[in-house]
Symmetry: D2
Subunit: 354 residues, 4 copies
């Protein structure tokens, strides 16, 4: 997994039995600079990882351990692929041992403690750590992430919406930020590996629905980041939907261009904005990306449209694999930045199509 | 198929080998007042219908005939489940023989000849018939349909969008009609039974995408009907998407309430508006209908939402089975009205869930 | 739901929240001779049935009640759509009140008490009732079912295997009964509506696997019925598989013809055998039925093949909808027989294709 | 794509627009020892490859050329991902230019010319090349492949059946070779990227069926290889089925153990047999592999079962990704052997799960 000439990062994973966990394992097992040191699971301690996830047979020889038995403090970085609330309970102890933290849950996504507590119904265990933590979206926070000790890995939906809008924002935005709509769609892995009737194959397959219309936790996360980018109050309507597919996420974003936006070549703007971002692909004008074009890869693809019917409407299509760029791949991208590795290290796989 | 006490309608179907064709066959074979008299298919004349569609084995004993051999003029009504352009070429001859016409293609959907010719790239063969034809959406045109000789059965997407908005329109509309968005999603049968690479299982499955963003033929159809209902110019952004499922369609419609709309109980308005429409189900406020709740039934379900983020945004969710209420079921509903039968005749099947 | 001229059967359902429960509700709500009187659910008492299963909105106005509150003793028949072990615990009380019983679980499938206890790991609560109960496969037990007070509705797999083999059996069988293979495949509803990780959309979709290879509870059920039909010891290899589809079941059955079988026109034999069975369709020789041709219908289709490669091999393909002919539809068919109704009453829906 | 220290193989692909073509492109673009030199497509010459297959955007900068314009003779090896009959028409010319050939179609799979002509309904263009060609299944022909100039890449089904049986064969086989059954199942990509109604999403999804029961072209290919391994006449019943999934293939193989087989530890036999084969994974006894455990990887997993019901029955479960180990991955594995590269070069990706 590592070569002698390259720096090696010792990695621990807390909570390796969910979908973001197994995806981290897939990516990190193939990463040239990583040594997987510990994987914990309270419920499955003692089980060989490859017995639970047979795709890893022959590639990974680790056994799940209890958190107590895991040598987490000997790691350089620990990923938390756990429910909300776990990372913040262990953050101070790990930081004290000089271990960096990347949390794939929401503990470090909302830098406003009050907002966190309102949406996640729990008090925050370490507001000071929250204050220093960095929102781990490399395309908007690359330099801060390089220096961060604690990174809050973004939610899957926010990644598509924020990256789909980012080039249009700024102090003098190209769009009316008070009236943004994101009609977002996710494959079923977005809901996690939980034993719930509503997620059964027989419930999800061959059907389509909206959910969380009256309020989804990613709403304040998106708004907060957009407001940071534009410095003004943002009005967002966000409606997520469940697609009968395993992986894949698409946001269809509807905005109205301002005078300035109407005068701008927004296609050129996007291309310039993301020129140095290896994982954002601005497609040619008029393209209609499908989610399978990014399946199992860390790429997010964007296409811009000016549909008929209104004069100032811009429609932005953004697709990603919710488990990769929307979760575990982005976490590895953050790790690469935090440890001075090439941003693409271990993340250059081509998407699986068909 | 028919009982002696009930009136019997003799039915012909032109073009019975597509998905709307086989769905018409399923519905009409079980309809208590219908005698299926002729089914044509240029390419498959001589084939037993039940050999092509084995679900009909034991229920239907007809053979496809060529259009020339079919006793269409002896029918009371002929359904056209054909490509655009076929119905208009035969309309005058059938009408002269006192045969009514229901066209499931677009020949009689756009009552404006010029608009038809611009969007469908063909000249209209019978503008006079087009002028007398009725747009076959019973919930807005019930009385006109009862008297019609020629009905243009609506497109699948337009059915969801028009019925989702209809109660809000009128001369003093509840919404800003210049800024309507419909983010619509369809199962793959919406694209028909055509041998195209883009519709293969291996292309569509486990993926999601938008299409037709730069202009879809249902756009002028929707706008034209909405403008008819409100008497004003309508601005519509319409983005259709392809869902990896067989049947089912959902439109997520975004509108801004006017002052009047904000003061109105829109939930009560919808419930009152559709009280006497047996195939529109206004769900309780906050419901999130899934498409499987209407699978293989003629029901369209609507739910209203006031999501957080903006003060005047209303989101309307509308689901239907694109092959039933979105096509063949609606055609049968129109037939029922045209022949004085109960509107529900042959259409009361419960949706298949799961 | 019922017409005054027809006999009306008062029906209760115990355990109406699983897939066989909602399918019973769909079929019985549309049955011309049924009055649905009570539906119980321990966990969801108080919930309107149509709130849990919105396909029933407008068709069914019942509320789940606790078993204790349900007027089950006033019913003519009670269906048990419950886990194994529930029906047998209530059988004596209902029979004493002159209520007939149809159990969709396994309590009355294995007429041998010892075999039941070995495979289901529980002692049988009423061996005397088990002794009088009838195995509810109408095509082999029609007359006994007409007179039965208690019917054990067959398992889904056994229905396909037994009906696929039945015409070949008898005292001088057409096949070597010591060497039968059934390679069977089921959609995910076959596993029930249970919150289990292994049944999640993200686990089942776009994958395929065998399960229960080392022993499945339907194995003794099939063997016991086949032995009853042939009067000899049967050797069966049974391997079930999980298909990423909602409904549908197929058994590919491999047998070797005996001398007698080789001299017999087995196609004609099957056609004659099932001539009077409205729900078994023997397809023309060489047909390759797909499961969607029976989706949501009570039909089971069979096709026979003599593939190349060996001289005496016969392959039998049998498809059904596991929730209808494999469960709830068959239960209604049994009810029809038990109450002197036409065997097809309420079961003549055409399959949904596509 | 290549590093200076490693040998570089110049590769051409004829027919790069099907599913095996795009999968070759995915694998070869990431192969450390490959320089992709030419990709031809008669129909799509001039199109950028990444415009047709957007997963390749940023990874591959080639344009499809006509076969005439492609510098195929400058390549070290040419892959044919074409319909049957194309490779044999160009073989002599390429061999004369010292270019090796790997054909993914059937031109070099049946070393018996007469058998080829009977099953593929065309005469063979180069029987002499056919005579020297090697059947490209590394696990049974590794040494011959190393020296081959022309390799016939195996069919997808044959790969599973032959590798599933190979350890049991030999001059004194462990099984009754006159009575082998393979009940095989394939995802839809197995049928190729062809515009056919029967392969549409709306036809394949949520359904299951057998096909080719009366004779499939892989039948003689399997029999011929098995007979080569055992030196005796083989009786095979082979029934393929279509699974509603994109990738993945499973064969459930039923055999009867001989006396010798009953006395042998077949689990240990398989483990020893494949110890040095990096792409065959013999799972622990009793395992039930699912196809997703090998999705997008070159691994084939095997599990052995002794199910109840008969004394001598052995059931072998074999899964692979039909596009990788069943086609393009195996072709790359063959190339590695032919050019002295490590067998695993470019093929060590972990399967995508979920």
């Amino acid at each position: 997994m590592s070569t002698s000439a390259s720096p090696v990062v010792k990695v621990g994973i807390v909570g390796g039995t969910g979908y973001t966990g197994v995806e981290l394992l897939r990516l990190l097992s193939q990463h040239p600079n990583v040594e997987l040191t510990a994987i914990t699971s309270r419920g499955d301690a003692g089980t060989r990882v490859a017995d639970m996830f047979p795709n890893l047979r022959g590639h990974l020889d680790l056994v799940f351990t209890t958190p107590a038995d895991a040598p987490l403090k000997e790691c350089d970085v620990v990923f938390f692929a756990t429910p909300h609330g776990v990372a913040m309970s262990q953050a101070n102890e790990l930081l004290a041992a000089d271990v960096k933290i990347i949390d794939l849950a929401a503990d470090f996504r909302l830098q406003d403690t009050a907002m966190f507590e309102r949406w996640y119904k729990m008090s925050h265990a370490c507001p000071d750590v929250l204050a220093e933590s960095v929102y781990g979206l490399p395309e908007i926070n690359r330099e801060a992430i390089r220096k961060a000790r604690v990174v809050g890995n973004p939610g899957c939906y926010p990644t598509t919406v924020i990256l789909g809008l980012s080039p249009l924002l700024g102090p003098d935005p190209m769009i009316d930020v008070t009236d943004i709509i994101s009609d977002s769609k996710s494959g079923a892995t977005g809901a996690g590996r939980k034993a719930e009737v509503g997620l059964l194959f027989s419930e999800v397959s061959d059907s389509f629905k909206a959910y969380g219309v009256s309020g989804h936790r990613h709403h304040p996360e998106i708004v907060s980041q957009l407001e940071g980018l534009t410095g003004a109050s943002v009005g967002l309507t966000f409606v997520p939907h469940l697609v009968p597919m395993v992986r894949g996420m698409m946001s269809t974003i509807y905005v109205r261009l301002t005078e300035k936006g109407l005068e701008t070549d927004v296609q050129a703007l996007f291309e310039a904005h993301y020129r140095d971002s290896p994982f954002v692909d601005v497609m040619p004008a008029g393209a209609q990306p499908d989610t399978r074009s990014v399946r199992a890869s860390n790429m997010l693809r964007i296409a811009l449209h000016r549909p008929p019917g209104t004069v100032d409407r811009l429609v932005i299509l953004a697709v990603q694999d919710n488990l990769v760029k929307g979760a575990s791949g982005q976490a590895v991208q953050n790790m690469n930045l935090m440890f001075g590795l090439p941003e693409e290290a271990g993340l250059s796989q081509i998407a699986i199509l068909p």
